[in-house]
């Protein structure tokens, strides 16, 4: 029996859902130390639709999804679920309120069975209070039947393919009766046939009235599966449109359409002879047939979206994860680079992408951080570091790069991101490199430090250093590079000269 009052309330909820969407958020703001990740962002997901989220790397898509999934708490803004304002305190909280997220890096427990993964925390019990495995397998099989998934509920997850694991994740989300399902680049590791199956499942879910948020970099997927899409840029909301109303070029323009400010002090400097040439570099399953050349005084920008494997190419060049086939020529001579030490012997230096993970020694002081690469090759006599000389060099370099620290005995974890980055650059400049590989040289640092680093890169190029610069920021790539190489999913998709390059051209090559 439903009282007239309850019925009216239910009607109101239905009406609200129709009007505002199953999930609607507005005014969301999220700040991380030094970065405004989301600024007054809105999104509305209607039930029974697939809603694509588009944007460059760092546009704020992932942060927004983490807020919706309860991983992060917004600093400001409102989240309405079925018309009601909700607070999503944790991933579990979000899940219980009807929001499921399928992460890019799948979050299943490898050493448990498919059924155990799906029903974890909700296992059916027998009368002794123990888990009823037969019933659990039956529940899983029923669930799979509904979704048209063919998988053995008792299979161990570690033995499944990526696509099958994804099916398990989707089934798990459906088993929670979620109203909103978030998928973060679900097709990035799937074959074409698997993608078709996934899309069939998504269409089925859509017909059951579930709102699906679909993050992707791939244009053709957007047109195939999405009903609506929203574009973000630099943490801001750009617009929401029906997928049928726009063209590919419209979307690219929405993604990149920002003004290029005049913050890049690139001056043209004489470009010398070829110093580095790579031919058909291949690391099976990661990147294939990467060929390019680099000349003295040249800055070669390397652009591409997440999953383009740009950083892997840099790591391979420097011997961190050596290539399996292909040639590396330095000064026209073929060289073997299997370790970073060998790369350094050939005059290479590599500023890695992730300062904290692969760059800084956070517990050590500035001096140790600056000198670590230098003392692997020189300034050591009978095992003893020639500290007076090294300290002098390090101090000079820190001064040149304007590292802001009371002294070099300061522990690096107390420094700002920009100063940490300068220390790492100082580390490599002390080795006097001829080839400098920079992976995201200005990620996560403030504007002032950023332009200082840009000026420095230009100066180095003017001195004849060959620079390979990976960057996710198109204005940076466009502003700094003499030439731009664009990668897409492990392949080089094209080169652009400084004169002809613009954001739309790069994005067309990057987001095939």
């Amino acid at each position: 029996m439903v009282s007239p009052r309850t019925a009216a309330a239910i009607d109101r909820v239905h009406a609200a859902t129709e009007r505002e969407g199953v999930l609607s958020i507005s005014g969301i703001r999220k700040e991380f130390p030094g970065v405004l990740a989301l600024d007054d962002v809105q999104l509305r997901i209607r039930p029974g639709t697939v809603h694509a989220l588009m944007g460059e790397n760092g546009a704020g898509k992932s942060t927004l999804m983490k807020i919706i999934a309860g991983v992060y708490q917004p600093d400001a803004g409102e989240i309405r679920l079925r018309g009601q304002v909700v607070a999503l305190k944790s991933p579990l909280d979000a899940l219980e309120q009807g929001i499921s997220m399928i992460h890019q890096e799948l979050a299943l427990m490898n050493w448990m069975t498919v059924a155990e993964n799906i029903w974890i925390r909700r296992e059916p019990k027998n009368r002794f209070g123990l888990i009823d495995h037969n019933k659990m397998a039956q529940m899983t099989a029923d669930l799979f039947d509904r979704l048209n998934i063919r998988l053995d509920p008792r299979a161990q997850v570690s033995e499944l393919t990526v696509a099958q694991k994804q099916m398990v994740e989707i089934a798990k989300a459906v088993s929670h009766n979620s109203d909103v399902l978030i998928m973060d680049e679900p097709t990035s590791a799937l074959t074409e046939r698997e993608v078709d199956h996934l899309f069939a499942i998504i269409r089925d879910l859509r017909s059951r009235g579930i709102g699906i948020v679909y993050i992707t970099h791939k244009m053709n997927e957007l047109f195939e599966i999405a009903d609506e899409f929203t574009v973000f840029r630099d943490g801001k909301y750009v617009g929401t449109h029906n997928a049928s109303d726009v063209t590919r070029d419209d979307i690219i323009r929405m993604m990149v359409g920002r003004e290029i400010t005049n913050m890049f002090p690139k001056v043209d400097c004489p470009i010398g002879e070829t110093i580095l040439e790579v031919r058909n570099l291949t690391l099976p399953g990661v990147f294939h047939d990467v060929s390019f050349s680099l000349r003295r005084g040249e800055i070669l920008g390397l652009a591409g979206l997440v999953g383009s494997k740009r950083s892997n190419v840099a790591e391979a060049l420097f011997g961190v994860t050596p290539v399996e086939s292909g040639q590396i020529l330095i000064d026209g001579q073929e060289v073997a680079i299997r370790t970073p030490a060998q790369a350094m012997a050939h005059g290479m230096a590599f500023l890695t992408e992730d300062r904290k993970e692969t760059g800084c020694f956070l517990t050590l002081d500035c001096l140790e951080n600056i000198q670590s690469a230098l003392i692997t090759r020189s300034h050591v006599k009978n095992g003893f570091v020639q500290q007076a000389e090294v300290t002098r060099l390090a101090e000079d370099m820190a001064k040149t790069l304007r590292v802001k620290t009371p002294n070099l005995q300061e522990t690096v974890e107390n420094l700002s991101g920009g100063n940490q980055q300068k220390l790492l650059i100082a580390r490599w400049l002390l080795t006097k490199p001829r080839i400098l590989i920079l992976d995201e040289p200005t990620r996560g640092i403030d504007v002032g430090a950023k332009s200082e680093i840009h000026r420095l890169i230009t100066e180095l190029a003017a001195q004849g250093v060959a620079v390979l610069m990976i960057s996710s920021e198109l204005p940076e790539v466009l502003g700094m590079s003499d030439r731009i190489m664009v990668m897409h999913e492990g392949h080089v998709s094209g080169f652009l000269d400084r004169a002809e390059a613009d954001q739309v051209k790069i994005m067309s090559l990057a987001a095939k």
Partner: protein, 339 residues
Amino acid sequence: MSSQDITARAAPRSHRKLPAEVNILLVLIGIAVVFEILGWIFQGQSFLFSWNRLKIMILQVSVIGIIAVGVTQVIISGGIDLSSGSVVGAVAMVAMSFAQVSTYARAVYPALTDLPMIVPLLIGLGCGAVVGLINGWLIAYTKIPPFIATLGTMVTVRGFAKWYTKGQPISFPTEGFAWIGSGMMPVVIFILVAAIFHVAMKYTRYGKFTYAIGANAQAARVSGIDVERHLVKVYVIAAMLAALAGMVVAARGQTAQAGMGLAYELDAIAMAVIGGVSLNGGRGSILGTAIGMIIFGVIISGFTFLRLDAYYQEMIKGAIVVAAVVADVHRQRKRRKTS
């Protein structure tokens, strides 16, 4: 550097300029004072002002202190070594069997004449090096966790020690060999070893690389350091120091038994941790461990002085180690929040 930069950042953290060892030294002084006060209350005499008590205390901890110097390097490199106690037992046996006087009826190798002290010493160090090579190789190249690798060698090496003479103790060393354990020799050896490795950790490439690997192995690799080869070196040095400790114990007691050095590895780790060496790697020093060793000694001899039951002593020792690790974890978390 402009003066503005200095004032901008230096002011709030001027208290951090003191070396980390100062805090540990303060803890040592605090504990010593507490025992001094308790001594006057319960025993009616001074705890600290007894030359004999201090001598016994330092002798007690020096042998394990030698091990702790090696273990400190392992922990700074981001690992752990559980095998050192077993190395003490095994090397005591092997070195002793080559150090016996030839006239003794139950010599392990009756054909040997009296060998100069250097021979058993080198053989003992060699045995230690072999265990260190196995540890280092397992950890660096098979990538199994240091805890498991050295747990394995701990059991295996202890088994070897028992097998070596089928459980029989070995006695009657030559005078030369007995000398290294006589009088204050263990303390002298500890001071020498600690000084050498203090310098090595602070001023040589070996030390710099050890800290770098412990702080961030991936960054060390990208800096051009051969991480695997360096780790092998660290474990070899640690095991050789444990071997040296084993010979000192055997020489001091003039006898070797397979069970010698039982649980020494835990005491050595405790000294390092109490001395401020972070179990996460990349932080700590030999000097800190040396102070940690004395704290350890003061606590043990303080409890004995207060006639506290030996069983309580062990329980409290365990609690202190856990407390030191908790303090370290707490420090790390606080740092992470501020940075």
